[in-house]
Amino acid sequence: MKKRTIYGLLALLLILGCKEDERLMFEDEASVYFGAQLNNGGFYSLDSLNYSFAFEPEEVERDTLYVYCRITGLAADHDRRINFVADEGSDAKSGYHYEILNPLIPAGQYGNDIAIVLYRQPGLRDSLVTALLRIEDSEDLRAGYDDTGAHPVGRSEYTRREFKFTITDQLLKPTNWDSSWLSSFGEYSEVKIRFISSVTGYTSWGSNPLPQDRNFIVQTAYQALYNYEQQNGDLIDENGNPVKFY
């Protein structure tokens, strides 16, 4: 009797054990993170941005930057709110220096470009404010990946839950001037960079333009300075030095 019971149980286990697996489906809660997007043929992830109103005309009082957020999981049939929280160390004030518009993943979507409006406040003429935004859990979406790394993560300093930006109205030496522009334009000066921006229309000094765009900027600036010198003599910078591109 005992043997029959044992054999019977074994048989039952064997019958039930060899079963075709059901399809595996995503069953976790959806989460959201700062994602990468296709741009100019490659994936591009923005973890920080330094914005300056310095090159904008006086009448420009606001500007908008967009940061892409993406979910893990499935799209939903309703809008889902993203919970952005400013780090305690942020001195940029929400509602004063900046405002996040519609922080949500729309219904049916897997990602969204979140608009952050930046305001040109008078105090920015001689200061720089910083905001470090962090995605936290909301009622609709959990906070997503909290990692840095090489491609495909594409984040070096801030995780995929974080986005840092600065706002100023000061004309500051671009952090990449020595590495990216020194060879073409020589030592930095305010007069020099304003001149180049005015003749080329280029103001995104923190970024690295594509080679053909860089060539255009350099050659246009060279020609403009040459023409200026032919008509007016040397262009003198704030330090009393002639502006030269070597």
Binding site: A11, N40, Q212, R214, Q219, Y222, Y226
Partner: protein, 493 residues
């Protein structure tokens, strides 16, 4: 009993084991070229090799556009259901577009299919031949001398009747495909006048862009002396003698021509001669330094190198000063063209009435940074008296061909001597000359196309040139052209 239960329990595991031999299809077609070029309205015959004696098969031929710029939902056309294909290229096909032709063989018993693919390119009568630029009352037009020596006349005005180009200057066709993310990737064809130019679709010959549209910001003045591509990654416009470049490469984004470049030490006080020396194929492991594009400053009598971002001097060690100094040549340039040694260039120079031949390479070699090869005074009568358009350097033998008045000459570089090999009738002066190397299924030879002008009419003559540089008798005259200003061969890139 347990064994039976175990076997029976696991029958729910849906596997796909099969112990039968898979059905294979051995399909080939050695006679078909890599890319079948065929025109609209022509008939396409294909006979793939497939042994159908041992089974029951059905066949299907389908064609679909194979352009990466379009999606995968392109319409398909069924061309046939027989083993051999015999079909007309209908208006389903679009001129200039690439197509993938699929030959599908299905085993009717098992339903398994095998496939064989062909690549098609839809061409027209203008796909190959000599394009001949003519001055028609001060406006540009071009005809084509086709491989069968027939002539299609006034093609530009026929295809583009509403955009005349005055003060015709030149035709230009890039040596290979250019990817600028503005036009479809392919060869660049320009028709230029001194004040304007157009980029043409190489197949349809329709205007794609005018000169202004080729620039990021069009220049205020236009005084062209050259437009074309040095290799396939440097577009060159010489405007007021200054270099305006378009640099392409593997990077994304639209690439267009920029403003004039400065030259080292002289800013904009230079004049580039209308010739480029670019690098062709080479083994990068053998050549540590490559000068992709070399140009000559006629005013300051020196060479520059450029990769598209700036004009630069060549390194001091690139020159053997006992031969000549690339940065300080001290001669005027008459002509520059490709020599018969890979990546080496012939430059016909002058000092007063004395011609010189300079030769230099685009490449250094291991342990040797010097690229200057030769400088010799030329025993080449009249070469400085003729126009640069009447000089043609051979890329197959150590010769330079040129014409003066009605006489054709061949200058032998090694012997430093010249012989006259042909004379046209008196009054029929040589006005243009081009050399092209031909590889006809392994048979290599050259072709010299010579244009003459007698004050009323231009005629063309074709000369066959052996690999040793021996020139045959000319073809019969091909007449009926207006004054020929330029000629360029359009064929497979």
């Amino acid at each position: 009993m347990l064994l039976f239960i175990m076997i029976g329990a696991c029958t729910k595991d849906k596997n796909n084991f099969s112990y039968e031999e898979p059905i294979t299809f051995d399909i080939s077609d050695e006679e078909a070229p890599d890319v079948i070029e065929i025109g609209l309205g022509q008939r396409l015959h294909l006979s793939p090799n497939f042994d159908d004696s041992k089974g029951d098969y059905s066949y299907l031929w389908i064609a679909a556009r194979n352009n990466s710029a379009v999606g995968y939902r392109e319409p398909r056309d069924t061309l046939g259901r027989e083993k051999e294909l015999d079909t007309e290229i209908s208006d389903f096909f679009i001129l200039g577009e690439p197509y993938r032709l699929t030959f599908k063989v299905t085993d009717n018993k098992s339903g398994v299919s095998g496939f064989y693919f062909y690549d098609l390119r839809i061409t027209n009568r203008y796909s190959e031949g000599w394009m001949v630029l003519e001055d028609k009352g001060g406006f540009a037009d071009f005809s084509m001398l086709l491989p069968d020596t027939s002539v299609e006349r006034d093609i530009y005005s026929l295809v583009n009747p509403n955009y005349a180009i005055a003060e015709p200057l030149m035709l230009s066709l890039s040596s290979g495909s250019v990817a600028d993310d503005v036009s479809p990737t392919g060869r660049k064809l320009y028709l230029a006048g001194k004040r304007d130019a157009v980029e043409l679709d190489p197949l349809t010959l329709q205007i794609r862009y005018n000169l202004d549209a080729l620039y990021f910001v069009p220049p205020a003045t236009k005084n062209l002396s050259f437009i074309g591509w040095s290799g396939t990654n440097l577009g060159v416009i010489l405007n007021d003698g200054l270099l305006q470049a378009n640099m392409t490469g593997g990077f994304p984004g639209a690439k267009k021509f920029g403003p004039s470049m400065q030259a080292p030490g002289v800013e904009y006080d230079y004049q580039i001669a209308p010739f480029t020396a670019n690098v062709g194929e080479y083994d990068w492991r053998q050549h540590p330094v490559v000068y992709s594009h070399i140009l000559y400053d006629q005013q300051n009598q020196r060479f520059y190198r450029t990769s598209g971002g700036s004009l630069d001097a060549l390194p001091t060690n690139a020159s053997n000063p006992s031969i000549f100094d690339m940065n300080d040549v001290g001669l005027g340039m008459k002509y520059m063209g490709t020599a018969n040694v890979n990546n080496t260039h012939n430059a016909v120079m002058y000092d007063g009435a004395q011609p010189y031949l300079l030769q230099f390479s685009s490449l250094t070699t291991q342990g040797n940074p010097v690229i200057t090869r030769m400088k010799q005074s030329m025993d080449a009568p009249y070469i400085l008296d003729t126009e640069a358009t009447n000089i043609a350097s051979s890329s197959q033998s150590a010769h330079i061909f040129y014409g003066y008045e009605n006489r054709l000459y061949r200058y032998g570089i090694n012997a430093n001597s010249t012989n006259q090999f042909h004379a046209f009738p008196a009054g029929e002066g040589i006005i243009n000359m081009k050399f092209r190397a031909i590889d006809d299924n392994g048979r290599e030879y050259g072709e010299l196309l010579v244009a003459t002008w007698d004050g009323r009419e231009s005629k063309l003559y074709l000369f066959s040139v052996s690999l040793a540089g021996l020139v045959g008798e000319p073809s019969d005259a091909i007449a009926g052209f207006d004054k020929v200003l330029d000629m360029v061969y359009k064929g497979e890139s």
